[in-house]
C-alpha cells in the first residue's frame, strides 16, 4: 500500500479518534461506503480546541443509510434523531461520517455541503452541542463543524493514536526543509517527520533515572515543547543515574536539572517545568494539553493520574519501568524492564492490574503522613543506569517511529518486556475489562473537560 502522508500537528480544531473506534469505523466505511455518527467530548488543546470521539454509532445499510432525496445516500431521519438525542443527553458533539473515494486528498462535495446547510442549524439547535460532518479516505479527513456558539469552522486535522500516531488532513502537508542540524535524522524521518517532532508537546512525568535519559534524548531529537513534572530534589545517591549531574546539583530540583539539560541540547526548546506531584491540578492541566506522555515515575498515584489523563483526554502515553527483585538475603530474581504503550480506549493500567488501590490511597496522603501510613516501611529499590537506559531506549524508539508513521503495523501496541539476565525480549498484548470506568465508552473515555480528571462539583 502507498505510504501514508506524514502530517505535522496543525493549528485549529482537531478531532481525536481512539484507535479501536477508528478500526471499527474504517471497516464500516472502506471500501463499501457506509454512514456513521461519532459522539465526542471536548477539551482545550495546545493548538486549538479538541473534539474527543468516544463512541461510534454505525448506520445499518438500507435501513439507517438510505438513498437520499438530493443524491448519494443519507442517514435516515430516525437514525439521526436517536443519535442527536444521545448527543444532547451526553453533552457530546455529533459528527456524521461518510467516506469518499481517493486516498491522499478529500473534500466535501457540493451535495454534502448543501445537506450540511439544510440540516445542521436545526440539529445544533436540538442538541445544543457542536454538530458537523466528517468525510474520510484511509489517508485523509475533512470536517465541517457547526459550533454550539453559532459559528462554523473547518476541522484542521483528525488524530488517531494507534501503533502509529496518525494525523489526517484534507490534503498532505508540505514540509519546510529540516535545518542542517537534523539533516542526518531527517534522512530517516523526512522533513515532515522532523517538523512533526518540533511541533509536538511531550510530557515527562518523573525525572529520575529513566526520566533524565528521556529528557536528554527528546530534546536532542528536536521535540519542540517539553512539560517536565517532578517534585523531587536531587540527592547524592541519585547522581550516578542522572544525565550531566554533578556534586553541586545536590539539593537542586530535578525539574531544574532536566530543564538545564534540555536547554543545552536544544536552545530553541520550549520548557514547562512543574515541580509538583502529578496529581497537583497545575500538573494535570499541563498534561491534558500534551500530544504524548512518558510515565517514568513509579508510584501508584503517578500511574493512576496519567492513566486517567490518557483515557479522558485521548492522549497516548508510554509507561517505562524497571523491576529488580533482590531479597533480603541478596538473592537476585528475574530482572525485567517494561515499556507499556498506553493507548486510549484499548485497555488501561487498571484493566491490566498495574495499579494497587491501597498503594494509591497511601500515595494520596499528605507527605508528612505517607511514610507512617505505609505500615511496613519501604526500603530503597535497586536502580542501575544501564537498565534504565534499556527501558528508556525502547520507549523513545517507539515514540519516534509512532510520531513519524514508521511502525510497520498501526495495530501493534503490545508492551515490550526485556529480561536482560536471560536476554529475552517479549511482547505482551494489553487486556481490557468490558466495563472499565476509564478506558471504555461506559467510563470516562474521551469525556475531556466535561468529566475533567479533577472532576469538580462545589462542596
Amino acid at each position: 500500500m502507498a505510504r501514508r502522508p506524514v502530517n505535522p500537528p496543525a493549528e485549529g480544531w482537531s478531532l481525536t479518534i481512539p484507535h479501536r473506534l477508528w478500526t471499527e469505523l474504517s471497516a464500516h466505511l472502506f471500501p463499501s461506503g457506509g454512514g456513521a455518527v461519532l459522539l465526542a467530548g471536548h477539551a482545550e488543546g495546545a493548538r486549538g480546541p479538541r473534539l474527543l470521539a468516544y463512541d461510534l454509532i454505525t448506520a445499518t445499510n438500507d435501513t439507517d443509510y438510505i438513498p437520499g432525496e438530493y443524491g448519494h445516500r443519507a442517514l435516515a431521519p430516525s437514525f439521526v434523531r436517536d443519535a442527536a438525542v444521545r448527543a444532547r443527553d451526553e453533552s457530546a458533539a455529533y459528527l456524521a461520517v461518510h467516506a469518499h473515494g481517493g486516498l491522499d486528498r478529500v473534500r466535501f462535495s457540493s451535495v454534502d455541503t448543501a445537506s450540511h446547510e439544510r440540516g445542521y442549524p436545526a440539529l445544533r439547535q436540538i442538541t445544543g452541542q457542536t454538530v458537523g460532518g466528517l468525510v474520510l479516505t484511509p489517508h485523509a479527513a475533512a470536517g465541517d463543524l457547526w459550533l454550539a456558539d453559532g459559528s462554523r469552522t473547518p476541522l484542521a486535522e483528525t488524530v488517531i493514536p494507534g501503533g502509529n500516531l496518525l494525523r489526517l488532513r484534507p490534503c498532505p502537508a508540505t514540509a519546510t526543509p529540516a535545518g542542517p542540524d537534523h539533516d542526518r535524522q531527517a534522512r530517516l524521518l523526512g522533513d515532515v517527520g522532523q517538523e512533526t517532532l518540533n511541533r509536538l508537546r511531550v510530557a515527562v512525568v518523573g525525572l529520575g533515572g529513566v526520566g533524565s535519559i528521556l529528557v536528554e534524548e527528546l530534546a536532542r531529537l528536536g521535540v519542540g515543547t517539553l512539560v517536565l513534572i517532578d517534585d523531587d530534589t536531587i540527592e547524592a545517591t541519585n547522581l550516578p543515574r542522572l544525565v550531566a549531574a554533578g556534586k553541586d546539583d545536590i539539593g537542586l530540583l530535578k525539574t531544574d536539572l532536566a530543564a538545564r539539560n534540555a536547554q543545552r541540547a536544544n536552545p530553541r526548546i520550549r520548557l514547562i517545568p512543574k515541580a509538583t506531584r502529578v496529581e497537583h491540578p497545575e500538573a494535570l492541566k499541563e498534561l491534558a494539553l500534551c500530544d504524548w506522555i512518558f510515565l517514568a515515575a513509579d508510584s501508584a498515584s503517578a500511574r493512576h493520574w496519567v492513566n486517567a489523563t490518557v483515557q479522558q483526554f485521548l492522549i497516548p502515553a508510554v509507561q517505562v519501568g524497571v523491576k529488580i527483585p533482590v531479597d533480603s538475603a541478596g538473592y537476585v530474581g528475574q530482572i525485567h524492564t517494561a515499556t507499556r504503550i498506553m493507548l486510549p480506549g484499548d485497555g488501561c493500567l487498571w484493566c491490566n492490574r498495574l495499579i494497587d488501590s491501597t498503594q494509591l490511597a497511601i500515595d494520596m496522603h499528605p507527605k508528612a503522613e505517607r511514610d507512617a501510613a505505609r505500615y511496613v516501611p519501604g526500603v530503597p529499590a535497586p536502580s542501575v543506569i544501564t537498565l534504565n537506559t534499556l527501558a528508556a531506549a525502547e520507549a523513545l524508539n517507539h515514540f519516534v517511529l509512532a510520531a513519524t508513521g514508521l511502525h510497520d503495523d498501526d495495530h501493534d501496541h503490545a508492551a515490550v518486556i526485556h529480561r536482560p539476565r536471560t536476554r529475552q525480549r517479549d511482547l505482551q498484548d494489553p487486556r481490557q475489562d468490558a466495563n472499565c470506568r476509564w478506558c471504555t465508552p461506559a467510563g470516562r473515555l474521551g469525556r475531556g473537560d466535561s468529566g475533567s480528571v479533577v472532576q469538580t462539583a462545589t462542596l
Binding site: 496529581e279 497537583h280 491540578p281 498515584s301 493512576h304 493520574w305 487498571w350 495499579i355 488501590s357 491501597t358 494509591l360 490511597a361 497511601i362 494520596m364 496522603h365 499528605p366 503522613e369 507512617a372 501510613a373 505500615y375 479533577v454 472532576q455 469538580t456 462539583a457 462545589t458 462542596l459
Partner: protein, 128 residues
C-alpha cells in the same frame, strides 16, 4: 478552591447516613479529597475509652483508591495487653492517634465504599 469530585461528595453523604446521629467533620485535604472524622464511635468494652473518634481520608483518587489506613483516638486495652498486628500508635492531622492498617484485597468499589469500610473497621477493632 473548595471543589470536590461528585464521587467524593456522594461518599461523604453515605458516611453521614452510615453514622446517623454522630457528628461528622469533613475538611478538604488540599488536593481534591477530604479528611473525614466521625465522632463518638463505640469501640466496645475491650478499650478505654470505649468511645472515640474514627478518621480517614477520602482522596481525590476515590473510588479507584482504597480508603486506607484508618485512625482512631488513642486507646488502651482494658485487659492490659498491647495492641495486636495492624494497630499502631502514630499521629493523624497533628493529634495523637492509633493507625489501623486494613487493606481491601481485591477491592470492590461498592463493597469497600468509604462508609461500609469505616463501619467494618469499627467492628473489627471492637472484636480484637
Amino acid at each position: 478552591m473548595n471543589t470536590l469530585a461528585s464521587a467524593i461528595t456522594e461518599a461523604v453523604e453515605a458516611v453521614r447516613a452510615q453514622f446517623t446521629g454522630h457528628p461528622v467533620e469533613v475538611v478538604p485535604d488540599g488536593t481534591g479529597g477530604v479528611f473525614v472524622t466521625v465522632e463518638d464511635v463505640s469501640v466496645g468494652p475491650s478499650y478505654a475509652p470505649a468511645v472515640t473518634w474514627l478518621g480517614f481520608q477520602i482522596s481525590a483518587a476515590y473510588p479507584d483508591a482504597d480508603v486506607y489506613p484508618h485512625y482512631v483516638g488513642p486507646l488502651s486495652r482494658t485487659d492490659g495487653q498491647s495492641h495486636g498486628p495492624a494497630v499502631q500508635s502514630t499521629g493523624w492531622r497533628g493529634q495523637p492517634a492509633l493507625q489501623i492498617s486494613r487493606r481491601s484485597n481485591r477491592r470492590d468499589a461498592i463493597v469497600d465504599s468509604a462508609a461500609l469500610k469505616a463501619e467494618r473497621i469499627r467492628r473489627w477493632l471492637a472484636d480484637q
